[in-house]
Symmetry: C2
Subunit: 455 residues, 2 copies
């Protein structure tokens, strides 16, 4: 259990932590649009220094810097805290109820782009560290803060960066970004991420837009693009690329059991999204298993021809689709990319260009029986007063692979500030103040237990 004085400090200084949060979220940092990213890195460094860390900006190859901060502790053990300071684009802006980069508190919630993913996580962890330092003078273990600025665009620099900084990044465990509670307030501890491959498919027709009366004879790139997409996934929802499922490693019985034990929240999610059904009519455990353990592909964007008001009878010159593939162990993005190209060629779509739009990442999972997981579980149980939900992986993606598998750190996302309806990547992203407080308390408890285990 977290020390009573530390807990009191955190509770009494909630307003200070909230002000940190508003300040951090008020700084735009959209890596996909190169909007405010450098300024946000400097702000993160300054906040680390204010908290008491030795902090610096580490350059990456052409991308936004890594913000690295370190604070010594009372034990020989080191915990690496992974977060990122960049955020997704805020579009469509018209669907926000308050401006995405003017953080707004209403009804006990904070609304801002990135407040859940991932600025709130960092600010909560930083304030837990502040509380331990102010109350105790020393941290119970060594803490390394690693904040990157390219997570939302695929962390392309990271594989090389990790190789070059193996010593600096060495740690005994890794506390990953993100973390939420269920609808009924149970803390979620998640041990993996899916991998991702994000591509743009470009089909070209006539060398300029032409009158659509030519449609009887002029090849239409919009039709070609959709036929190509249909060849990748049909209404059966199975990905039809040859070999796509070959590298998929079956889930362990522990993992399947963990999915089975998860609270059945899928109905709330479905209702919240206004959906009459999930794909294939899946429900309950089956829906959860598909969601977390199966690879998928999504059209993230489609564009061709005239999309303005009224009618324009035009046959477009070009059609584009943005497409992601979510991968599970042991699929590899570079392997899927080759399979995709081979597939398009085999299906007669060799004219369709495949552009890898951003960095990819392989999937990663930490085993469910790791002692690091047990520690997170027991501290969460104490802080939240509820049984934690341990899940083998979430459906999202990120560069966990380089920490969990390359640096061989047991890695888990926990001590988070979100809840099921926090709307990452979407309009009205938000967190609840009560979850923000719990995130700080849990982080403090984790640091204490982690340090104690090393003494």
């Amino acid at each position: 259990m977290v020390d009573a004085k530390v807990a009191s400090y955190i509770q009494e200084h909630q307003q200070d932590a909230l002000e940190d949060l508003l300040r951090f979220c008020g700084q735009p940092s959209v890596s996909a649009q190169n909007l405010g990213v450098a300024e946000c890195a400097e702000l993160a460094r300054a906040m680390l220094v204010e908290a008491g860390a030795r902090a610096q900006l580490l350059p990456t190859r052409g991308g936004p810097p890594v913000v690295y901060g370190e604070i010594a502790g009372d034990s020989a053990r080191t915990l690496l805290i992974y977060d990122h300071y960049d955020v997704q684009p805020a579009e469509p802006l018209e669907l926000w109820h308050s401006p995405p980069f003017q953080p707004t508190v209403r009804e006990g919630k904070v609304f801002a782009r990135g407040v859940y993913d991932d600025k709130g996580q960092f600010v909560a962890r930083l304030n837990a560290v502040k509380a331990l330092l102010r109350v105790r003078g020393r941290l119970p273990c060594r803490v390394k803060f690693f904040l990157e600025g390219e997570e939302e665009t695929g962390s392309t620099y990271l594989p090389a960066f990790v190789e070059e900084h193996r010593g600096l990044l060495q740690a005994d465990a890794c506390l990953w970004e993100a973390g939420s509670v269920t609808w009924d307030g149970r803390p979620i501890i998640s041990l993996g991420l899916k991998g991702i491959l994000y591509v743009e498919l470009v089909a070209r027709g006539p060398n300029r837009d032409v009158h659509s009366s030519l449609g009887a004879v002029v090849p239409n790139p919009a039709w070609r693009l959709l036929w190509a997409l249909d060849s990748i996934k049909g209404p059966g929802e199975t990905i039809k690329i040859r070999g796509f499922y070959d590298s998929v490693q079956p889930a362990t019985s522990q993992e399947v059991e963990a999915i089975r034990r998860m609270p059945p929240e899928e109905e709330q999610i479905r209702a919240s999204l206004g959906l009459s059904a999930f794909v294939l009519g899946l429900q309950g455990e089956e829906a959860r298993r598909r969601y977390l353990l199966e690879p998928s592909t999504s059209i993230c964007g489609l564009e061709a021809g005239y999309t303005g008001p009224g009618a324009k009878t035009v046959l477009p010159s070009v059609a584009r689709a943005k497409l992601d593939f979510r991968l599970v162990p042991r699929q590899r993005p570079e392997e899927v990319l080759e399979q995709l190209k081979t597939h398009l060629k085999a299906e007669g779509f060799e004219d369709i260009e495949v552009v890898v739009s951003s960095g990819s990442s392989p999937p990663a999972r930490t085993p469910m029986d790791s002692p690091w997981v047990t520690l997170l579980e027991s501290t969460a149980r104490e802080v939240y007063g509820k049984e934690p939900v341990v899940i083998p992986t979430v459906a999202g993606s990120g560069p966990m692979y380089y920490f969990a598998e390359v640096l061989k750190q047991p890695t888990a996302a926990s001590a988070g500030v979100g809840y099921i309806d926090s709307r990452p990547h979407a309009p009205d992203e938000h967190i609840r103040l009560e979850d923000f407080l719990k995130g700080m308390l849990h982080t403090a408890a984790v640091l204490e237990a982690f340090g104690a285990a090393g003494r």
Copy 2:
């Protein structure tokens, strides 16, 4: 042959006619965007009055007015000249080499949105009338100018308007808008238009954009939309809607023969568009027959999710496609609309909304053996010094049906100012000054012959 004095007048006053053209094209009139339409109607009326017509604006039900002008003549016969003063949207603006509403003369060509479709036609015809009036004092036949402002958005008001103004619009023949010469300068006389149905298909998924990691279980409207589109037309290029081809009336042997005799310009068109092949690899007569005599469907616009720079991992809430159907005698837009709705329902896409985006029009064709066609042919042969190309229909659409079939006027497009590369509906729309001159000369010859035939 056109009277020598009239021909001289036209040649000596080319600059005046060009100034009329620049003035008319400089006035934007995008009906789909309600941009400058009222101003353009007033300008057309003023130009008719300047030429010597009694002209007025006739209100339509909520739409832009019809500009109607009339000039008496020496014979009992009446020719109705159909044109329109509205134009297509000018987007994408960045592909124009000069601003679309700042008409620009370079290398013997005039560039402007609408200069071919259809402002150049009207200005040429108006200046032919001016020349006849200035040289002779009277026209050889009665001329009625009918200019509408809603052609590019489907002339929705027109069926009712024609019913209400049958007396006013009565005429012995109709000279239709548009007309071009072939690559080698042969004048084209075309006797028909395809019909059109233009719809927007709207697929809806979650009630807001969500993180694309949900793609394994949340139905994606972009995939659903493309599956629905694929069910309408696959790579075989046949429209798979049940009953779609049932009402198609086989072409007459005269029509097929006319297609066969057409100059083989399809290779130039293909090369000009940078295409390696037409659909299904069609060439020559087969390509022409499909282009002119077969119905078709084109995706004119596609939109879903994030289409900006970089990557955004989002699963869109809505996906939209704009789609046209080009129809041939005796298909009817309202029949095809019902067939489309029934098809989507039968294929399991009853959730996809069908919005008729703008007015539709049925197809129309005037028989190839009409005396009106013979007159146009012989005058064109004289003015151009080349054998005219008479074709049973063009692939474009418009409200010819209401004149050719409802008012029972032999109707043909001739005496035009365009050429094969005039780029209607596309960036850099233009006409050549030499074609503009020929269009005026041919119009004058047509009026003389038409009047003479009535005396």
